[in-house]
Symmetry: C2
């Protein structure tokens, strides 16, 4: 359990309208957006920093290309004027952005990570956060992914892909917690 | 299918004796080491570069700490004098090492990645390779992982963890191929 969770920056990754059009398959955690909204509200109320990351796809057919409506951040996660927004064009929030420099300059060592999708941008950003020396917490029910077929030809549900990816991250790169655990941990310490 | 596979650097990650002691659980792909040995032999025979990455754990109890026998590279993957070796202390082969600078200085844009374990050091290094703009191929049966229990409390076999992690990497960060596909692709072009 991460004792610094209440002081951590809330890092909100790629909660954009077009994410739901990337795959024509079932998604898990339909409540991820409402959990993200709850966490953002809690962070703002406590005056702790929220940092946003937005994906600007460079792929011609992607709904996340700048200029497409899919590039827009969903209303539940829209940044307010005082909050930093870093834009990126690859999965990792730490590649091609000023995020790492900003965190170090401001002595921000602890991150609570939420957003989409579990196994692409969220996993990659969490791995790099951990390996760069940040203390990362990943909120299991404030992220989600989509069902797909693997290179082995087998079909996997969104929930299977989500759960195995969390297993691979937990205790190696981050601590995995639920939204309720994060909010309870903050409430106990306030 | 990666048409540059024959010209790619072979990147061999953490094939170290202590890896098998990290977890007290079943491993998949017992043939990973013999496939790695086959690929290294093929690369050396063709005079294409092999680059090695070795993990020096900073954790007091890790069998991968320098000075422990577990830190040694397994004989199947031992570097020869002319081959570059990068040492690291986190999962990613690109963090805290000169690997990225070396690849760029030498105009090496294509990587075939093998090693241990699928979901920790191999996945993290493959994600960063792709996001840094390298053309990466990951060899599915020249990597392996271990059974574990997830933060959801469910038990997953090594093969389940391995396969889902490959699904999450394939077509987003790399192309997943088998040892046989890699060797056939090289044979067809020579």
């Amino acid at each position: 359990m991460n004792s610094h969770v209440g002081k951590s920056v809330l890092l909100v990754i790629d909660v954009q309208a077009g994410i739901d059009d990337l795959y024509q398959s079932e998604r898990n955690n339909p409540q991820a957006e409402s959990n993200i909204e709850k966490l953002i509200a809690n962070w703002r109320q406590r005056g702790v920093e929220v940092i946003h990351v937005k994906h600007n796809s460079t792929e011609a057919q992607s709904p996340l290309r700048p200029g497409q409506s899919g590039n827009n951040v969903k209303p539940c996660a829209a940044p307010i004027a005082s909050e930093k927004l870093f834009e990126k064009s690859v999965n990792s929030a730490f590649i091609g952005t000023g995020l790492e420099a900003y965190l170090r300059e401001n002595n921000l060592t602890d991150l609570v990570i939420v957003g989409l999708t579990t196994d692409h941008c969220v996993s990659t950003s969490t791995r790099m956060a951990g390996n760069l020396g940040f203390n990362a917490t990943l909120v299991s029910d404030a992220t989600a992914t989509f069902a797909r077929v693997g290179p082995d030809g087998e079909s996997y549900t969104a929930e299977q892909i989500h759960n195995v990816n969390l297993l691979s991250l937990d205790k190696e790169f981050c601590t995995v917690m639920t939204t309720e655990q994060v909010l309870n941990s903050i409430a106990e310490r306030s």
